[in-house]
């Protein structure tokens, strides 16, 4: 009983403006505590630099143009890899969801490939591509492919057959049926795939850039480690977190816009 009370408690105190701010209280508090702990020497700066030092390192790198360049390179790799892998995954999901023949032909193979952890391919990929751009793009695309493929396929398979029958009765052509019934019906599931894929995208990129790259955020972190610049290492990690959050927010906004018909997305 008291648990339920505490869960529903914030609702009654809903102040629109404050609502958006509440989620930032905990991160800000952590940073404040971190700063105090560093300044007082409770946490040695060799282990963890103070937030102010991290910020300073970021400022210096920003001035030298290095930071912007590395962020841009990572962002570019992430997006291109995502578009390629996601695009192919979406295409296969559509084809296998809509055509029995295509499904019989490719699904088993894809399911087998899925069981290979894509990061296990890194040594092979380096042998193939060196530490070229294509190595990173390949890994990101491969990692992103499966969540999008599986969720697109699932979404199309689970569209209400009664609605499809209704569409046919009302004389929809195949194209119309896809546009008006199948695709909107599969969309919620496709978004689940996109959210999963975004997580995998960053993870893959971090690993790939750390191991085999000559630019990008992961490379910047590895360089800094060699020169014992712990503030830059921490900075890279924080930027990764920030970019991940940004990608997630973008997909949420898109979701809200396209799934506005779904009661689950109405503002409560």
């Amino acid at each position: 009983m008291s648990l339920i009370d505490s869960v529903s408690f914030p609702r009654s105190f809903r102040v629109p403006r404050l609502d958006g701010l509440i989620q930032w209280i905990v991160p800000l508090a952590i940073i404040a505590i971190w700063q105090v702990a560093s300044v007082t020497g409770f946490v040695p700066t060799r282990v963890l630099p103070a937030p102010s030092d991290v910020l300073l390192a970021g400022w210096k790198l920003l001035l030298s143009g290095e930071l912007a360049r590395n962020i841009w390179v990572s962002f570019w790799r992430a997006s291109i890899g995502f578009l390629i892998g996601g695009g192919i995954g979406f295409a296969f999901g559509l084809a296998n969801g809509l055509s029995q023949l295509s499904n019989k032909l490719t699904d088993t193979t894809l399911q087998m490939v899925r069981n290979v952890p894509h990061l296990a391919l890194i040594p092979l990929v380096i042998l193939w591509f060196g530490i070229d751009e294509s190595a990173k793009l390949f890994l990101v695309a491969l990692g992103v492919f499966f969540p999008i493929y599986l969720n697109t396929l699932h979404g199309i398979r689970t569209v209400d057959p009664q609605l499809i029958e209704m569409g046919r009765i009302y004389g929809m052509t195949d194209g119309e049926l896809f546009r008006r019934v199948i695709f909107p019906g599969a969309l919620p599931s496709i978004f689940v795939g996109i959210r999963f894929a975004l997580g995998i995208m960053w993870l893959t990129l971090i690993v790939a850039e750390t191991i085999a790259a000559s630019s990008g955020l992961g490379y910047m972190a590895m360089q800094a480690r060699e020169f014992m610049l712990i503030d830059v290492v921490v900075l890279s990690i924080l930027i990764y977190a920030l970019l991940g959050k940004l990608a997630d927010s973008a997909s949420r906004v898109l979701e809200r816009l396209t799934l506005s018909w779904h009661p689950a997305y109405w503002k409560r």
Binding site: L163, E165, G167, Y170, G171, R180, V181, H262
Partner: protein
């Protein structure tokens, strides 16, 4: 208790709650009932699923514009017959003829579930019913007209998920009506509604049928509903039409009158005796 209380409301009260009549009158003056019904002839119709002989020779003629109700115990093949008529399924043998040059838009089916697209607003859902005319310039106004007919024009921009069960079914009815079909087949369209909503929906069905003059085929579990609405009640048993009962009561019919009650009793008798045999 709840149901008893609802059905015992006086008729006038029910009528005042089912207040979609005023909108409809406007439409009736604007658009004369030009789409007349189609006659329907079925000969020696058979349909099996594997070893299961569902329909074993249906012979039936329905004159244009007649309102026919089909009753029968569960699994006797009522939905199968309806799906054959609507062209959703192929017969094993026999024929169904619907007069000459039938367009797909001339036959419409309404199911127990409204089957609205959750991601389309009410008005676009109704536009779906226009079939090949969906893209035409008057699609909007025709859909609006159909929504007015069922009394839901003020819900045109809503998502289906905010509508009540009865309202969703009325949108489905508007979608079926918007192409001015000449045959309208209903597969237990009111099965999932509460008693009060059912009665107001029955009145709505009867009214649009009288306005538009289509041939109506209503599959129902509810014998009282069948005798209240139909000109003719068919009882299906063992894959054939076992009884063909004409309902002569004048319209508008008085629900629960002795005449209808007697008819209902005799049809129920047919159904129960069929049930005893199995």
């Amino acid at each position: 208790m709840q149901t008893a209380l609802r059905t015992s409301l006086p008729e006038t009260e029910l009528a005042s709650r089912a207040n979609f009549a005023p909108h409809a009158r406007v439409v009736r003056e604007e658009r004369p009932a030009h789409s007349s019904g189609l006659p329907l002839s079925i000969r020696a119709l058979r349909k099996s699923y594997g070893d299961n002989e569902v329909l074993r020779g249906i012979d039936l003629h329905i004159p244009a514009g007649q309102f026919v109700a089909i009753v029968g115990k569960s699994g006797c093949g009522k939905s199968t017959l309806l799906r054959l008529i609507a062209g959703l399924e192929k017969a094993d043998s026999g024929s169904i003829s619907l007069g000459d040059a039938v367009k797909p838009e001339d036959i419409r089916v309404m199911f127990q579930e409204p089957r609205l697209l959750p991601w389309a607003r009410v008005l676009s859902n109704v536009e779906v019913g226009l079939g090949r005319d969906r893209a035409s310039s008057d699609a909007h106004s025709r859909a609006e007209e159909a929504l007015t007919e069922v009394g839901l024009i003020d819900k045109r921009d809503q998502w289906p998920s905010v509508l009540s069960g009865g309202q969703k079914q009325r949108v489905a009815l508007a979608r079926a009506l918007v192409s001015h079909p000449r045959v309208l087949a209903f597969d237990e369209p009111l099965g999932a509604l509460d008693a009060l909503t059912r009665i107001s929906m029955q009145r709505l069905l009867e009214r649009v049928w009288r306005d538009q003059g289509f041939t109506a085929i209503l599959v129902t579990h509810d014998v009282a509903e069948a005798v209240a609405l139909a000109d003719r009640v068919l009882v299906i048993d063992e894959g054939r039409i076992a009884h063909d009962v004409t309902v002569n009561a004048a319209r508008p019919r008085e629900r629960g009158s002795a005449e209808l009650a007697a008819l209902e009793g005799s049809i129920l008798g047919h159904l129960l005796s069929a049930d005893d045999r199995t």
